[in-house]
Symmetry: C2
Subunit: 172 residues, 2 copies
Amino acid sequence: MQVQEGRDKFIQAWGTLGSSWGINRTMAQIHALLLISHVAMSTEEIMESLGISRGNVNMNVRSLMDWGIVHKELRPGDRKEYFYAEKDIYITAMKIMRQRRKRELEPLIDIMTQLKQVKPDETKEGLALTKAVHDIDHFAQQADTLLNAMEKMSSNWFTQQFLTLLKKIKPI
Amino acid sequence: MQVQEGRDKFIQAWGTLGSSWGINRTMAQIHALLLISHVAMSTEEIMESLGISRGNVNMNVRSLMDWGIVHKELRPGDRKEYFYAEKDIYITAMKIMRQRRKRELEPLIDIMTQLKQVKPDETKEGLALTKAVHDIDHFAQQADTLLNAMEKMSSNWFTQQFLTLLKKIKPI
DNA sequence: CTACACTTTCAATAACTTCTGAATGGTTTT
DNA sequence: AAAACCATTCAGAAGTTATTGAAAGTGTAG
């Protein structure tokens, strides 16, 4: 496979996968494009490369920056903004995880907190509800703690300690 | 808050959260309904409770069974099928994780494997692509190993609990 | 064999999400 | 002060995904 073909395939694939990762297709394609570009790109260049509108680029680039996986670069004497992707894949993965925790886990915890207010009664229905709420809340708290801990650790920890840990737990 | 209000809120909330968990709203609502029901429910009852069509219940119940978080119960002398949810939240979470690994990680690994075939050249573009593919592939492999390990550990944990219980009932 | 009680499938459509392109707004150059 | 340049917003268009309801399929009992 040649490089140009590979690049196209990469962008295409990252875009498709994006959907199943909860990132929309265009956002993922822009991210892919920037990931494999060795220079920062302007809005125009992104529009051109992917054949999408200015508004679309603008919105999605902004989301990518919110997530902290794409950054802006300003060049002296140039009013355009240039964008480049975080190149460390572990940091990138961490930031994506962080967003997902926000979107998936936090609302869950909030709602369970509310539902713990349900006045327990002794009907079977009441007990089933109370148990479900309790279990889910407990689980969500644990997952949250775990993800928080992982986030605090550096990509350094990841590359070194994490592998060691994996080797230890693997042969169960 | 009263029990009935709590139940409605629970179903509503689980449905909303489902979307951000990659489960569709109805599928999640059916799951919620079964989670807090102390008895197995028929298609009719689910339709009625959630106000949705027969086809919709059928499709989503089938998906839930594919995921292994809802099961079917047959009653002698009754041709209807009754459905109930896995009540252990850890097992449920594990099964959901497993589906997500399938949908999110496996395609990623497949595509990176393909892209590793790109003939590396010495242009900056070529090198950036090669590096990105390498890094992502490495990361995906690690994540896959980790999730597999977790899955194994939990079933292990589960088996152990089960064995302990067995010993208590009938000492070998 | 026929009626019945259910489950499954599927084409049409409804609901939701993403994208466009034109309008708006702010800043710098002429 | 006007023109040029670029970012941002947003209402409607396009595209995608979920839902319905009716038809087809399956198995059982009379």
